[in-house]
């Protein structure tokens, strides 16, 4: 298995969406249309289930866990823009979560600015930071970029932990900032129940997946693809690879910061060790990698599978076997890297395709008969 194939997965998905996957294999147009329709039906069913979930699942604990699952799916998909499509290894993405969370929280606590505006501002600041990190390091070996992201994340965390006041802004160092649960309402991004949060993160997740899908089929997607594997060839063709990567980095930083604000408004308490931690950055990267970076469905699938493992192993084994979920992550990660470098989405997609294929055959036969 060569490295070429990692970046191919993105392109394969794009081609498949355009319906070219079976080109040349002699399958009739009818069957292709049937399969397209089936794919659409499947997506519709998933959407109905997702939007209808809060009507079935009433327990706040479960909703809480599912919301966090979507949260991580969102984070990993945003990470994927730079970690998957651009082919580098960012290991400090939590820094953007921190920037987003702190920006919106400080602005809303001290100046009463709506968290939604703070959210956008946090995103913009993150773009600057992301580009700042990317500019010098994208030209170097991947290892340097990875180390630089770690250094930035940790350096930022140390800074926030040590500063109580930055000029007029209250940062409160390690004690963190607590948001009092008053003023509920959409404009204040604060709700008593969990359902509104569920829908918000669901919509954010769908949005970010849509953005990823667009990119994968756009020129940018192809530039990144080419640049990841044969940068010299790409540059010879006139593609500015660095610029493409920086653009991807900017988008990834922006989107990740939005999630930071969501988290702050959801849990109402932020402090450096929890949101700017190396553990979080690594968890995002691990999930994306196990799920399958470079693909659209991979990160989401990874989150759906791995987050429950983490939560459940904490609940069941928390007092007898601490840290078990991290061991599981590590083992699964290594196994996936050795046997399925494109991530588990590869096998899962194949299974899905086979099922749809068989079903299409069945339906066609019934239709003909």
């Amino acid at each position: 298995m060569t490295g070429k194939e990692y970046s191919e997965s993105g392109r394969t998905m794009a081609l498949a969406d355009k319906g070219f996957s079976h080109a040349g294999t002699g399958i009739s147009l009818e069957k292709k249309i049937l399969k397209d329709t089936m794919n659409k039906v499947f997506l519709a069913l998933v959407a109905v289930l997702a939007f209808g979930l809060p009507l079935i699942v009433k327990s706040p604990t479960w909703l809480h866990m599912i919301i966090l699952m979507y949260f991580y799916a969102y984070l990993t998909t945003s990470w994927n823009m730079v970690g998957g499509f651009a082919g580098v290894l960012p290991l400090g993405h939590a820094v953007f979560i921190g920037i987003g969370a702190y920006t919106s929280t400080i602005l809303s606590l001290q100046y009463g600015i709506s968290p939604w505006i703070g959210m956008i501002l946090g995103g913009i600041i993150s773009i600057f930071v992301g580009v700042l990190i990317g500019l010098p390091t994208f030209k170097m070996r991947g290892a340097y970029f990875a180390l630089a992201t770690i250094a930035f994340a940790e350096g930022f965390r140390v800074m926030v932990e040590n500063i109580d006041y930055l000029g007029p802004l209250k940062i409160n160092g390690p004690r963190g900032l607590q948001i009092p649960p008053l003023n509920t309402g959409l404009s204040n991004f604060m709700f008593t129940g969990k359902e509104p949060y569920y829908y918000i993160i669901l919509i954010m997740l769908i949005a970010v997946l849509a953005v990823t899908w667009f990119i994968s089929r756009s020129k940018l997607g192809y530039y990144l693809n080419a640049g990841g594997e044969e940068p010299e060839a790409a540059m010879a063709l006139g593609i500015n690879v660095s610029r493409a990567k920086l653009f991807a980095m900017a988008m990834s930083s922006f989107l990740t910061a939005l999630a930071g604000t969501f988290y702050a408004q959801f849990s109402l308490f932020i402090h450096p060790k929890s949101i700017i931690s190396l553990d979080t950055s690594f968890e995002i990267a691990f999930i994306a990698l196990i799920g399958g970076r470079g693909s659209i469905a991979g990160p989401v699938l990874g989150a759906l599978l791995l987050r429950p493992v983490s939560d459940l192993s904490r609940i069941y084994f928390g007092d007898t076997l601490p840290g078990l979920h991290l061991i599981i992550y590590g083992v699964v990660l290594i196994l996936v890297m050795i046997y399925q470098p494109r991530g588990i989405q590869e096998s899962l997609t194949k299974i899905y395709d086979t099922v749809v294929d068989r079903l299409a055959d069945r339906l066609k036969k019934d239709g003909d008969a």
Partner: protein, 317 residues
Amino acid sequence: MIVCPGRPLPFRADHFCGLETQMMYVIEDAINGILMGSIYGLTALGLTIIFGVLKVVNFAHGSLLMVGMYVTFWTVSLTGLHPYVSLIFVIPIMYLFGYYLQDIVIKPIFKAEKNVREPLTVIIVTTGVWYILDNLTLLLFGPQYRSIQDNLLKGKMIEISDIFISVPKLWGFATAIVTAFGVFYFFQYTRMGRAIRATSLDRDAASLSGINQYKIYNMTFGIGTAVAGIAAVTLVPFYNIFPTVGVLFDIKGFIIVVLGGLGSIPGAIIGGIIVGLIESIGPQFMTATWTEGIVYGLFLLVLFVKPSGLFGVKYDW
């Protein structure tokens, strides 16, 4: 103008502390910085060796150090030997551990990515190893902080006219220098060492000369891990042992190795000393919590200004 240590800022004009005392303080701090720094350099030495040959950053290095510390701790506790004598056990155990870790876990990736210029997946896998080692240790041995009691080295100090020098750190310094020279000699002058260097420069040409590339990698990993074991032995006399002790040294290790230049042996030691000096002299002018930030800042500075570090070779970017 040096602010008088121990006095809260801002500098108070009514206070004066003699220039002599100031000089003594700086010398004392510098000595501590050099000693501690050389130990940091030793911890980073294995990392730089592995990178120099395999062209891979081993994120699990801190965990290997932690494993070395536990091995030393148990050896000393069970046999009552002097920590440095336990090197007899620690070095071979760590070498084999590293050798087989590379063979079983990392080699498959190398084989799979033969044609890729930069095996990023290996970095990912070493991160997985890091997590597994740290948490497995937590599971098996518990979160308690352990340390060796009452051994010959613990807590001893040399006093030279009011300047204190820590004995275990002095031993660490000596060990670091000896190990660095030993490793350097090995790579420059021995046949095995030269074979390893040949592989690092051009793996295909080396294999044409009959060198088994993968065996070389295994050996190098083993050597790097063994060096981590030596570093662990120097730390055990005065430091606490617990499952996540490796994380701090891991990150410091990366910083040192980038500072000194990936793959450079003198670079690792000197990089370590620089970090040690910042950590020792820095707190005299600001709180210890800020020196952490300065180290990161320096790291980023080097990364952006001269990524190849002080002694590093310019790679084909």
